[in-house]
């Protein structure tokens, strides 16, 4: 984080201050992002319960119409497993297992992309049309939100992994888990925030799976 830009000079203390502020930003930004995403998904959950309880024209869910179970299980398992792998990866990362973290990360990425593919495919295979009922509409809403969530998660996981690969050369071959280099410190904060988000995504996927497929 050397700040020798635009004609100003930082003292070491200032560099340290800015680094702390930056790491704090990654940390609090990650949590705030989860907060924002919670409100987004909560709007969908609200919609689900609102339409369910108002049951306009008895059309909340005629004949208990349900989206294809096999797709549902596939998507939720892939997403939840990706979340577990992200959490496991970070646990290993903290203990210095960079290679483990990378393997877990790339696998999680593959699972997320798999879930994404399944989600898109599922939307083409629904046994109901979008405006068939309150349930059908909410389900399409979930489909769209889930696609967005999976893309965001996959992007965050991929960019973190890619950064991790370049980082090693940037910090002179040190281990990013131990290095005190500012880039490594910033990287670790990002890994932590990404992992939190993945955990959140896993819980969200399970919650909406229960709403749309199980109850």
């Amino acid at each position: 984080m050397a700040k020798v830009e635009q004609g100003y000079i930082s003292t070491p203390e200032e560099e340290e201050f800015e680094l702390r502020a930056h790491i704090g930003s990654v940390w609090s930004g990650g949590r705030l992002f989860i907060g924002m995403y919670t409100f987004l998904l909560a709007s969908l959950a609200y919609t689900y319960f609102y339409l369910r309880s108002s049951n306009s024209g008895n059309l909340w869910r005629p004949n208990h119409m349900t989206a294809p179970m096999s797709f549902g299980w596939g998507i939720v398992l892939a997403t939840a497993l990706a979340a577990v792998l992200a959490v496991y990866g970070q646990w290993r990362f903290r203990r210095g297992g960079v290679a483990d973290w990378q393997v877990a990360g790339w696998t999680a990425l593959a699972l997320l992309l798999g879930a994404l593919m399944l989600q898109i495919w599922e939307l083409t295979k629904l046994p109901f049309y979008p405006g068939a009922s309150g349930y059908a509409s909410s389900f399409i809403g979930w489909g769209v939100f889930n696609i967005a969530t999976l893309i965001v998660s996959a992007y965050w996981v991929e960019t973190t992994l890619a950064r991790g690969m370049r980082l090693r050369t940037e910090i002179g071959g040190d281990r990013p888990t131990l290095s005190t280099h500012p880039s490594a410190q910033s990287f670790r904060a990002n890994v932590a925030s990404m992992t939190y988000f993945m955990g959140f995504v896993g819980v969200g996927a399970a919650f909406f799976f229960a709403l749309f497929y199980l109850i």
């Binding site: 003292t11 200032e14 930004g29 924002m36 409100f39 909560a42 509409s137 769209v144 950064r163």
Partner: protein
């Protein structure tokens, strides 16, 4: 960690002369990205999306039956916005990140061209926002003039009933969009780092993104007009929303796009305030404007996702034929109302709090008194922000909510007037027995208190179910919210511009013209909107292009005043042009003798804000206090060290 007052000697070298990659958005000449490439991107994107939509959906039965391909319009809008962002360079770094790269080097482009680029300098973004929100304001204002022209006469019409409602809808929506960003964008981005002693915002790319998305939102919402407009008013209620033509896409997608900008701006602001406060800038020393922006950011980040979701559902209803808001297919028109107002009421405070933050900065400077009950003011802002999530159903009193819910929401709504009252009293306490300097910023601040009293008291009436049942949907409500938003926020914003533009531009705004601006705006604002309370009580409904003959006198009075009010904005525009270009007068470093940290940096503000990160020593409001310490130690940079004392 703290930065010791004895400054260590700088260790790093001088200005950079590296040969690193320079971002495409910063390169000189035509081989770079700027407004021109953004426009090309938007046009190409729109055409591509539209073509794709036609290729996909022109054979769909509902498209053929209606003769309107909303899918083509929606895809056109989506691709158009993507092209705009791609063209300006907003996606360069997110795409490069996929390969694990660090951002390319940002150099500060000098000269005018920086304002037409994807700048990551918070001061450039702040000034870009000033122009952006004024553009919104002036175009929205022109639509207001059209409304008042139509209401000159109940029987002679300039517009058809259909065109009238579309003008009203566009006016309301544009103004509301503008008002969400009017302080956070320009003043927030420019001033917050200076006020908290930081050299930067936390996420400069997100800050730039928020501005360029905001401008995209402007184009999307105006695209509604050539698409036939939308008839729903700014509230977009279903089932009218569902029945409306393609112009409705402009509204729904416009709110979603503007919503992204609001979320980005609020996110960046909150994270910056939390993390980048200089050493010594404890929470009890944080300027009141910063407190207000923190509370606003909480609302922007947490309430706006609901608006975004509501917009997406609306778009799905129109394009994918879902039925979120269609009662006949298992949806509910009330769902829109709930989602919209769950955002919409916090939105009211998104618009109110920053206004109070601005006047909270202005009053102590022009009364030379500390801000009265500062902590109560800050707590009031947080209180308002929290409570604002629990009041939304008061907008549905008339919509058929369960009547048992009404007392609950009446209670929460009346409760919120308590912290709002505290915030108001902070101003009154500061003014108490004060020797006031009647400079233009102060006049605007005083006008806010006058206007907001009327707007606020009528709001307490409206929170009451019996009154609400009587005046709902009429000009009384209309007048109430113009008094709070325009009379509150807009007056505060104008005061803020007169107060801080000398810092932002290095030029003083002309005082004489400023006085003309203030007095015409204040007088004609009241003459325009006060009669509307009476018109409302006499029964004139909103959004209707005609009215009872006996109300013509009052309406004409209001319309003529509105034209003069419009003229006051021209005076303001003239003042800007005159003072900034025709006859520029260099602003002194601290023209108002403020203790605020933002005034202690050099003028013009260097791109890095502070030569040394300041060590904050006291709060900025200790005016007339013998022996009060300087507000900050600015190090050995040869800048203004101690704030002026009385």
């Amino acid at each position: 960690m703290t930065i010791s007052a004895e400054r260590p000697v700088a260790t790093s070298g001088g200005a950079t002369t590296t040969t690193e990659r320079v971002s495409w958005t910063q390169r000189p000449g035509i081989w770079s990205q700027h407004l021109g490439t953004a426009i090309v991107g938007a046009i190409v994107g729109y055409l591509l999306g539209h073509w794709l939509g036609n290729a996909i959906a022109s054979s769909y039965p509902y498209v053929q039956n209606s003769g309107q391909n909303v899918i083509a319009v929606t895809l056109g809008e989506i691709f158009g916005v993507a092209g705009w962002l791609l063209g300006i360079g907003a996606l360069n770094y997110p795409l490069a990140k996929l390969t694990g790269r660090q951002p390319a080097k940002e150099v500060d482009v000098q000269g005018w061209s920086k304002y037409f680029r994807y700048s990551t300098n918070h001061k450039t973004v702040g000034l870009q926002y000033v122009v952006g929100v004024l553009l919104f304001l002036f175009t929205g204002g022109l639509l207001a003039m059209a409304i008042r022209t139509e209401l000159l006469n109940p029987t002679t019409h300039y517009f058809s009933a259909d065109t009238y409602i579309k003008i009203v809808s566009e006016h309301g929506t544009v103004m509301m969009m503008m008002a969400t960003s009017i302080v956070v964008g320009p003043l927030g981005n420019y001033l917050v780092p200076l006020m908290i002693g930081s050299r930067r915002m936390a996420f400069p790319r997100i800050e730039a993104f928020s501005f360029w998305v905001f401008t995209a939102g402007y184009m999307v919402i105006f695209s509604a007009l050539p698409l036939g407009g939308f008839p729903t008013g700014w509230t977009g209620y279903a089932p009218l929303q569902t029945q409306a033509g393609p112009g409705m896409i402009g509204y729904l997608f416009g709110f979603a796009v503007i919503g992204m900008g609001m979320m980005a701006a609020g996110f960046n602001m909150a994270v910056t305030i939390i993390n980048y406060r200089a050493p010594g800038m404890t929470w009890s020393r944080v300027p009141i404007l910063v407190w207000s922006l923190l509370a606003t950011s909480a609302l922007l980040t947490l309430a706006t996702p609901t608006l975004f979701a509501a917009g997406v559902f609306g778009l799905l209803d129109k394009t994918a034929q879902t039925a979120f808001y269609v009662n006949e297919h298992g949806g509910s028109a009330y769902l829109w109302q709930n989602l919209f107002w769950f955002f919409g009421h916090p939105e009211v405070y998104i618009m109110a709090l920053p206004g109070f933050g601005i006047v909270g900065e202005i009053l102590p400077v022009f009364t030379r008194k500390p801000l009265f009950a500062y902590k109560v003011g800050a707590a009031g802002m947080i209180g308002v922000a929290l409570l604002s999530f629990f009041v939304w159903q008061h907008h549905l009193y008339q919509s058929g909510i369960n009547p048992d819910m009404r007392p609950l929401f009446m209670l929460t709504t009346e409760l919120i007037s308590i912290p709002t009252g505290f915030i108001y009293l902070v101003g009154m306490g500061t003014l108490y027995k004060a020797k006031i300097r009647f400079e233009i910023p102060m006049l605007f601040a005083l006008a806010l208190y006058f206007n907001f009293l009327i707007g606020g008291v009528t709001g307490v009436f409206l929170s009451d179910v019996p009154v609400n049942v009587t005046v709902h949907g009429g000009f009384f409500v209309l007048s109430h919210f113009h008094y709070t938003i325009m009379g509150g926020l807009l007056f505060a914003f104008m005061g803020g511009l007169y107060y801080w533009l000398p810092k932002m531009t290095g030029r003083m705004l002309n005082k004489k013209i400023g006085l003309w601006h203030f007095w015409t705006m204040f007088v004609f604002f009241n003459l325009t909107f006060f009669p509307m309370f009476i018109i409302g009580l006499l029964g004139q409904p909103r959004r209707v292009f005609t009215y009872a003959k006996n109300l013509q006198g009052l309406n004409d009075f209001s319309s003529v005043s509105a034209f003069l009010l419009g003229f006051s904005f021209l005076i303001f525009a003239f003042n800007m042009v005159y003072s900034l270009w025709i006859n520029p007068q260099k602003a002194p470093a601290n023209p108002w003798d403020s203790r605020g940290l933002e005034w202690q940096t050099a003028n013009p503000v260097p791109s890095y804000n502070f030569e040394r990160i300041p060590v904050v020593l006291s709060d900025p409001y200790r005016y007339s206090e013998p022996g009060a310490p300087a507000v900050a130690d600015l190090g050995d940079a040869g800048l203004v060290h101690a704030a002026p004392q009385d």
